[in-house]
């Protein structure tokens, strides 16, 4: 290595995204490392400062709750991108298509179908109904094309052998796509030279792809050019920047609950020229706040009467209500079985080994080795409430044990995955930091996976928690095209959508 960045770099026995166990760089990183070696540590530090100033001036921020009056923070992007080969990606992509297809089949079966998976004993009814995300109000609400989860974010990790595994499904309002696109924009500005010898697949068509998918799930009453809106809880929401991003990239209105009104089971928005009918709502508000008539009566974020409008089929709500049941961490354990049941296929992307604690045998064995496992609450997102056995104090473990015994359905235990690491710029050199990957999957009449996704980095040394709300950072994620020609063809059509071989979703 020419650069001093990697002088003392040590993989410390972890699976490293860039270096083999022998210390030699992996082949698909060699061009990048060479380019990087032309930069001094000071020059990279200067560009990092530029990056921070750019993000702040552009207002690419998220809000941290709990700190005084909700500070706007930037989501730090490491200047060293993560690279995924075309071959690896086609495996991931096939796995994601399969998984999201199964999850959509399950939701459709559950809420508007015959509940065949339950009748056939694939998953117990009580597990479904005891899930926080399960929603009786969703029964019978139609979803065109069966795309109840139109936007999914699936969290992947790589274990000690480099195997990609699904860690979590996010089927409600997964956020992060705005950072995927903005990170790419920032990288092309900060380190344009790095793209020179590498055929990186584009990601900036997301808005177009999303709008296309939303248009295709419009109700039959809509015109050929349906009115789509993005519904946000408002400017104080931590992901407000993303809501703005989505509306802007689709060229549609960003509305709040108070901008919408339901009359005779039809949704309108209040415009300067009167009421305008709305056909599709991409909502970024949780189920519980969507409609005070049906859910929390104290919520002022939602729209009274929205659920009844959705039930009448005059408007499509995306993602559908009740999806939380399928990303419940206990239901997660059943996804491999559901895959075999609905598709008669083996899961392409394996789960992390998961233990269900209402089973007395599994509970006993978990309680015996609590200090070696990861314990998660089933319904939380954002990395909250997790206990990582080996890192926990005796006190934490005792509390965790008591919590589990008090409510076994509320917790799962998982084997500790030694997450892969990626060199990350720390001061003037590179150090290994744990990473995960959240690709985004769009479902309408086809399934489209946006190349790459959000690579999140646990910036704290040794930490396994990558969530932005807990001090995580991110990396631009490069999926390589098989060849330059493939890339040029993709850029020319402006989209990776509807390639031959994309999985069909049955309605």
């Amino acid at each position: 290595m020419a650069s001093e960045l990697f002088n003392d770099y040590d993989t410390e026995g972890f699976f490293d995204e860039v270096f083999e166990a022998t210390g030699a760089p992996r082949q698909h990183y060699s061009a990048l490392l060479k380019r990087l070696s032309y930069f001094s540590a000071e020059e990279l530090a200067r560009r990092e400062r530029r990056r921070d100033a750019d993000f702040r001036n552009q207002g690419i921020t998220f809000t941290v709750y709990g700190e005084d009056e909700g500070i706007e923070r930037t989501f730090p992007m490491d200047l060293m991108p993560r690279v995924i080969t075309a071959e690896e990606w086609s495996h991931i992509e096939a796995g994601l298509e399969q998984r999201v297809t199964v999850l959509n089949r399950f939701l459709d079966d559950l809420y508007v179908g015959e509940r065949a998976a339950i009748h056939d004993g694939v998953i117990p009814w009580w597990v479904v109904t005891s899930s926080d995300g399960f929603s009786r109000e969703a029964f019978g609400i139609p979803m065109p094309l069966g795309a109840r989860c139109l936007v999914a974010g699936i969290d992947l990790v790589r274990d000690g052998n480099g195997v990609y595994r699904v860690l979590e499904d996010n089927l409600r309002s997964p956020s992060g796509i705005s950072y995927v696109v903005e990170n790419r924009v920032a990288m092309t500005r900060l380190l344009p030279q790095m793209f020179a010898d590498t055929p990186v697949r584009p990601v900036d068509h997301y808005g177009r792809s999303l709008l296309g998918a939303l248009n295709r799930v419009a109700p039959a009453s809509a015109s050929d050019n349906p009115t789509v809106v993005v519904l946000t809880p408002g400017v104080f929401n931590s992901a407000y920047f993303e809501h703005v991003f989505l509306a802007a990239h689709m060229g549609v209105e960003l509305v709040e609950g108070r901008d919408l009104v339901v009359d005779d089971q039809v949704v309108y928005m209040r415009t300067t020229k009167g009421l305008k009918r709305v056909d599709v709502i991409y909502r970024r508000i949780d189920d519980a706040f969507l409609d005070p008539v049906v859910f929390r009566p104290d919520s002022s974020l939602g729209v009274p009467g929205l659920m009844s409008a959705a039930r009448s089929g005059s408007v499509t709500i995306v993602n559908a209500v009740g999806n939380g049941v399928a990303d419940d961490k206990a239901v997660y354990a059943y996804v491999p079985a559901l895959t075999r049941y609905y598709l008669d296929e083996e899961p392409i992307l394996p789960n992390v080994e998961t233990y269900l604690l209402w089973d007395p045998d599994q509970l006993a064995s978990v309680l015996n080795r609590l200090d070696q496992l990861v314990i998660k609450p089933v319904a939380e997102a954002g990395g909250y409430g997790i206990t990582i056995g080996p890192a926990a104090s005796d006190e934490d473990l005792a509390k965790c044990r008591a919590d589990i015994i008090a409510d076994p359905r509320n917790w799962i235990a998982q084997e500790l995955i030694s997450l892969s690491r990626h060199p990350t710029l720390i001061d003037d050199h590179a150090e290994g930091r744990h990473v995960d990957l959240r690709p985004f999957v769009l479902t309408s009449d086809v399934v489209e996976v946006i190349p790459g996704g959000l690579t999140r980095v646990a910036m704290k040394k040794g930490s396994l928690v990558v969530n932005s709300s807990q001090g995580g950072g991110s990396k631009d994620t490069w999926v390589l095209a098989p060849t330059r020609e493939d890339l040029e063809a993709e850029v020319a059509t402006g989209s990776s959508e509807a390639r031959p071989g994309s999985a069909e979703v049955s309605a």
Binding site: L254, R258, V261
Partner: protein, 322 residues
């Protein structure tokens, strides 16, 4: 467009104009007083507070009438909703909720303006380099105006932004004139130069007046000029254009009716008649008319959906629906 977005853009325009006007007024007042005695100073700061319509609020805050206190109050007092800092924060907050309908450049200009106001040491700057500070604020406001003008589509969003901008400007220039016209009896060259400077009008005025500093000429220029963009007439005419373009049917909207009447009144006003009559009363009336236009805009465009509309929908399907 979404009624809430329209309202936010309207207010963003008003706040930005307010920040710029206040900065210019402070600059002129401060530098016009360096050789003045204490009594003159107090009178000038008092009239500056009146020109921004905040004299009562200042007195309530219990501060004494000094340059430092007034500057502090008008620049960095977060408790004072009329301070520059409050106006810039409010402009950013309004724009932040309509970001998706603006250009990236326009949002960035406002955002980085606001962020740099937060990071500057305003307390020190007010004391040690006020001219640089006010110049910075003025330039930032003008940058936003320029970026908006060069990057925004001429759609309804643009019209509401400009409408807020121009109505605020018209009201501000009018109030400035009303506060300064007490000098009419005892014309002071420097006061009138200061007044013109406060409206960025000195050079433009000189070119039309060829050196005269007759108060009647100054007043006519700031109130009625049809070529200077900060005159009351010019701003009202621009507001009328925005409202005309925002209209839909054949019927003029209520705010358009009001602004059209006001424009006609100014367009055909006789300056001599104005000055010999109850000029202060006349200016007060114009200010009230401008506020009337603002309220009518609110009723017409921002809160235009009443329960009665929903009822109408059931009786006459299609009514009120675009």
């Amino acid at each position: 467009m979404l009624a809430r977005d329209a309202e936010n853009l309207f207010w963003a325009g008003r706040y930005l104009e307010r920040a710029e006007d206040t900065a210019r007024l402070l600059d002129v007042t401060y530098h016009g007083l360096l050789e003045a005695n204490a009594a003159e100073q107090r009178a000038a700061w008092s009239s500056a507070l009146e020109a921004v319509g905040l004299r009562d609020a200042f007195e309530k805050s219990g501060r004494s009438l000094t340059a430092a206190n007034v500057s502090e109050f008008l620049v960095r007092d977060g408790e004072n909703p009329g301070s520059i800092v409050s106006a810039v924060e409010a402009a950013r907050e309004n724009v932040r909720t309509v970001r998706e309908s603006l250009s990236t450049e326009c949002w960035e200009a406002i955002n980085s303006f606001c962020l740099s106001m937060r990071s500057r040491n305003l307390e020190i700057e007010i004391e040690q380099q006020p001219h640089e500070l006010y110049g910075f604020i003025r330039r930032q406001c003008q940058t936003v105006a320029g970026v908006a003008s060069e990057t925004l589509a001429r759609d309804d969003g643009w019209r509401f932004l400009r409408l807020g901008w121009n109505l605020e400007r018209a009201e501000w220039t009018c109030r400035l004139l009303r506060v300064r016209q007490v000098h009419l009896e005892a014309p002071g060259f420097h006061e009138w130069v200061g007044t013109l400077r406060s409206a960025s009008a000195l050079e433009a005025y000189r070119r039309t007046s060829r050196g005269s500093m007759d108060p009647a000429d100054v007043i006519e220029f700031l109130l009625l000029s049809d070529s200077f963009p900060r005159s009351v007439f010019f701003a009202i005419r621009s507001a009328e254009t925005s409202l005309r373009e925002l209209g839909t049917g054949d019927e003029p909207s209520q705010p358009l009716r009001l602004v059209g009447r006001l424009r006609a009144e100014l367009e055909f006003a006789d300056p001599r008649e104005l000055l010999t009559g109850d000029f202060e009363g006349e200016l007060t009336r114009i200010e009230r008319s401008i506020r009337g236009v603002c309220s009518a805009v609110g009723v017409q465009y921002f809160i235009n959906i009443h329960d009665v509309d929903l009822h109408m929908l059931q009786v006459f399907p299609g009514a009120g629906v675009e």
